[in-house]
Symmetry: C2
Subunit: 646 residues, 2 copies
């Protein structure tokens, strides 16, 4: 050893403190365990505070919480909702350590209580409060798969964040006030680790044989001598004693019985406080803005193996119709024909069928499609079909919701003429019938003007009442809205609706997978700002063809991912037959609810203020200028709550 060497060279250097190992220890402090020994060796989650094992934090419903979402501080959840409104929040969970001996980081038990007000009113878990798991589709968080309530278990994977979607549906009659509850997360052992508590199959068979022998010994005692009976009973006693003292039952030897671990967990759990302010505004039972959404009957027929027109087919369509109504949209079933001719119908039954009345009268339905020709062709019925149907429907009070959607995006004179032809027939039977036409262009083979698109109303009038234009055509040219509206004649009951489908693309609002949550929700903000009175979306179940209900979901070739798909077959994710909503469908609903808030505000302060609040809060300024963060949404809702509550 050279003596000129300074003594500090002899001390092993410390990584991260003195140079080297870039930023070693920067993330230190995430594990502030009181007793580190509890995390050494095998970790027993029933003896360690859950907060040592996992991160739990809340995220707004516009966040796309994927596996790589990083933890944030846990704060109490505070929400605002009107009556007849659904409000949602996400709880994200990520393991800090692995405590399961298996392929996962660990199992957590999640539990949600009722939300209760001080006056004893409740929002009941499983009814008004529901829990779903956020499942990625093509790697993007999208499917909301129901989980058991009020308690369920989920597996956490190492290095991956999981998210639970909590929705609160406030009934129309719910008393306003503050409702409090808790979401409780408890790290626990995997079922396999509890398996010691169960009797395995071979063990059970052994037990069965022993008891059977025992019975064989003591059952036939009639006519036996006392000695023999005593002998047999003693033999049975021995067998029974051996059985009862076997390891199978060892847990019951103690008088007190085994500890119930579940009870012990309570103090170790993470409690997320949920607080919801319900205010006196009641969202209208019938949505103010009709959002009509297509459901492909072909997809239902193929996927669920139901034959067009069969009893199972009617059942399947009814199930879809009813499930979708909760999203405040107005479903129509559809089939595509030649050159984008479409057959659209909200009820698969004829107009005089009681089910049609039930469907059309549902107050949650804002609009319904009447088929131009029979959905299920049936001999004589076909003749004079349209006239008969229209005559029946015209006599009903729900007739004001009716519309005819005959052709998707006509592109040439022939197609436009087909619409005129069909519409003439309809209007012959019902002059007040509404025909809806979607378009993004006038006829390409006979341009109407340099503004081929803008001049369509003049070209189609009086054969269309609902002029439904593509948002893609408008793009970022918001000033075009004025020109479109100038061509519409509201005084003649004409309306302007819009639609999105493949376009507009990012960064404009649309419902493609991979877009931001606020971008999904902004589809409806855009409608509100532009002033359209209705909205159309071509498909909610337009996955690619499959003939098995639980077949992998594939998007169709040529479409952006998620386009035409707003929910999934439940069979893909579990044994449930209930459809599984996408995050994008929830955001559609949220957007429609935002419109109700904005409409309330406008009813008090005028349309100008109702648009101005979008800008004031920074929520939505235009198709390329809307908030990427959630806060402005809560600001808008909070402001309307403050200014409009009674």
């Amino acid at each position: 050893m050279n003596n000129s060497e300074s003594p500090q060279d002899m001390v092993p250097p410390v990584e991260g403190v003195a140079g080297g190992g870039t930023a070693y220890g920067w993330g230190d402090g995430s594990l502030q365990v009181q007793d580190q020994s509890l995390l050494r060796g095998t970790i027993d989650p029933t003896r360690v505070p859950t907060s040592e094992l996992i991160h739990v934090w809340s995220m707004p419903n516009t966040a796309n919480v994927g596996p790589q979402e990083m933890p944030r501080p846990l704060e109490p959840v505070s929400l605002l909702a009107a009556r007849n409104e659904r409000e949602s929040i996400q709880i994200a969970i990520r393991p800090k350590v692995s405590w399961s001996g298996t392929n996962i980081a660990g199992v957590v038990q999640i539990q949600c209580t009722d939300l209760c007000s001080t006056s004893g009113d409740r929002l009941v878990i499983g009814q008004s409060v529901t829990l779903r798991r956020v499942v990625p589709i093509l790697g993007v968080p999208d499917a909301l798969v129901p989980i058991e309530m009020p308690i369920s278990q989920i597996n956490l994977l190492p290095g991956e964040t999981s998210a639970i979607w909590i929705s609160i549906d406030v009934p129309s009659t719910q008393p306003p006030g503050q409702y409090d509850g808790e979401f409780i997360v408890t790290a626990t052992k995997a079922d396999a680790e509890y398996a010691a508590q169960f009797l395995g199959k071979s063990e059970k068979h052994q037990l069965y044989r022993e008891l059977k022998n025992c019975l064989d010994v003591i059952e036939p005692i009639d006519g036996k001598t006392v000695e023999e009976v005593v002998e047999r009973v003693k033999s049975a006693n021995t067998t029974l004693r051996r059985v009862l003292l076997s390891p199978s039952f060892s847990e019951f030897f103690s008088e007190n019985g085994p500890l119930d671990m579940m009870d012990e967990d309570a103090n170790l759990s993470i409690h997320v406080k949920l607080s919801l302010t319900v205010w006196d505004f009641v969202l209208p039972e019938t949505p103010s803005l009709p959002a009509v959404i297509g459901i492909s009957d072909t997809v239902i027929e193929d996927r669920f193996g139901v034959k067009h027109g069969s009893a199972e087919w009617y059942d399947a369509l009814e199930q879809h119709f009813k499930w979708l109504l909760q999203y405040k949209i107005s479903p129509y079933f559809c089939k595509w024909g030649n050159s984008m001719r479409v057959l659209t119908y909200t009820s698969p039954w004829p107009a005089d069928h009681p089910k049609s009345d039930e469907f059309f009268s549902d107050p949650r339905l804002a609009a319904y499609a009447v088929p131009y020709s029979p959905v299920v062709p049936c001999g004589d019925l076909t003749k004079d079909y349209l006239q008969k149907e229209v005559e029946i429907l015209r006599s009903k009070s729900h007739w004001k919701k009716a519309y005819f959607y005959l052709w998707d995006e006509p592109l040439n004179v022939q197609q436009y003429d087909a619409i005129r032809h069909q519409a003439s027939e309809i209007h012959a039977y019902a002059p007040d019938a509404r025909v809806l036409t979607t378009y993004y262009s006038g006829p390409s083979d006979a341009p109407l003007a340099p503004d081929n698109f803008l001049k369509v109303p003049g070209y189609l009038r009086p054969h269309t009442q609902i002029y439904c234009t593509s948002e893609w055509v408008i793009g970022n040219r918001e000033e075009m809205v004025k020109d479109i509206l100038a061509e519409i004649q509201p005084e003649n009951n004409e309306e302007w609706w819009t639609y999105v489908c493949m376009g507009p693309p990012d960064p404009h609002p649309n419902w493609h997978l991979g877009m931001r949550g606020t971008q999904h929700r902004a589809v409806m903000w855009r409608v509100w700002k532009e002033g359209g009175t209705g909205f159309l979306y071509w498909g909610a179940n337009c996955y690619d063809k499959a003939t098995v209900a639980s077949a992998e979901i594939k998007f169709r070739r040529g479409l952006p991912p998620g386009d035409g798909v707003l929910f999934y077959p439940g069979e893909v994710f579990s044994s449930s037959h209930e459809p599984v909503a996408s995050l994008r469908l929830e955001r559609l609903l949220s957007g429609l609810q935002d419109i109700e808030y904005l409409k309330l505000y406008s009813s008090r302060y005028g349309r100008e203020e109702g648009v101005g609040i979008l800008e004031k809060t920074g929520m939505y300024l235009g198709p390329e200028r809307y908030t990427l963060e959630h806060t402005p949404i809560d600001m808008m809702r909070g402001e309307i709550f403050r200014t409009c509550r009674s």
Copy 2:
């Protein structure tokens, strides 16, 4: 009904056939089930061919098989390996449908047989053939987590591809020839679905109480009257009969007992044929190219809670050393000090300790680091430490593997002087000692020349023997290699080694997470082409600080993901304490093995041909021109097999 309407308008149109619904049915045909009824309703995987339920296909070891990997046709696997070589292949599995009623798509049983030759030689599963699950890190497939062999179960998720990594380690003594085996995948039921076969806890407790009562009734019969005994026995009979006829035991009522589902599965499974040609080349026991890789002892100390110098600490280091040797690398432990001074050592024990001899003599070790100062300071030992150590080591035959690595990337005159100072001392005791210095620049405060970097050897000589330069400096300027080599004096036992760390970045070869598999493997192809005689990597376990073994793995701030991390603590993924290799570590090994093939080829046909074959096969032409696909790798290996086998 207007009679001018053509009849075809009355027929509901068919989606996808006639317009509409872009590309509906394009993916049709993936489910060619003979009997569709087997996939309707609840799917019983024990009655349906597994091929109806899942896709199975093979992928080369350079593929990064993530959850979105799309199915390919299943083809038999055909591999080539030398003796003392590891060759790997991946089997990808993706559900076509969901058949589990739970949160997953379904469970598959995977099984691998031994590989056998016609002459009866074997590569035994669990020994020479191993199975690991590919697990994503930060969303990128990287960790290889061991699974049970020969049979294990894995969960498949809807819409996600899983991958199994099969490695075959061919022993040096394995007879050449063709070895055949099978990888078998069988869709099965989840454990939970078998749970009906088990007795739950409360059911078991009930059973216990009934039997206990039964025993209480018939046990004390001594001194009882006959009538009383008969009465008691009858009561016991009733209880026993009730117990035996309870649903708990219903499966045993039939004489034949329940069917054993496992046995039935065989014909329904997917069999992937595995064929391996072992050829007579034996990879050298000691790797031709020393690849020295740093292991942070600080990380081991913090993460596993072992105190520096304690018995547990020596154990932990030894475990790491031995585990890493299988990857044909030469580990050194290290700590960073001030200004990138490093303390590096391959054995934690002093030179005279038998363990040091064991470590250094291991034929798989190509080079070892000798610490300049004591690793575990210990009173008297410190004095004259270096001199004594060197004197001991110089007397050993393994001394030729020794090197001293004193400073990481010196940057100024003071740091370069420190190296000279320490090296002088070392050379005073051992003139033939090798000092290794990593650098990417000459001293910044006294530039050596316009080519500050190139002139370092002249500046450091004779205080460094292994000039280890950053590949990042070379970048795409391959002509610079000539200039570097011109400064090295091999005749004076000087060597040129290289290293990668943070740089070079994509698209150059490196080991960052998210790079292509061939890009990982090309690190060693680059070394071969450039002609360096050794390689250094700064860290294999340099995750961020954690004080719990199973804590989530976090990469250090400021480093590209995966940089400094080539394996993970096993505790994160399971209860195993064995480290978990990354895909990148496997590709490092493959690259080192490729060098042995190329060296063999060069020994026959010369260095020029040995470099030429890289170009001829399209495998590697330069840091920005190497194959992105696997095929050229097999071409290179196949060509060397054909031309060099005896």
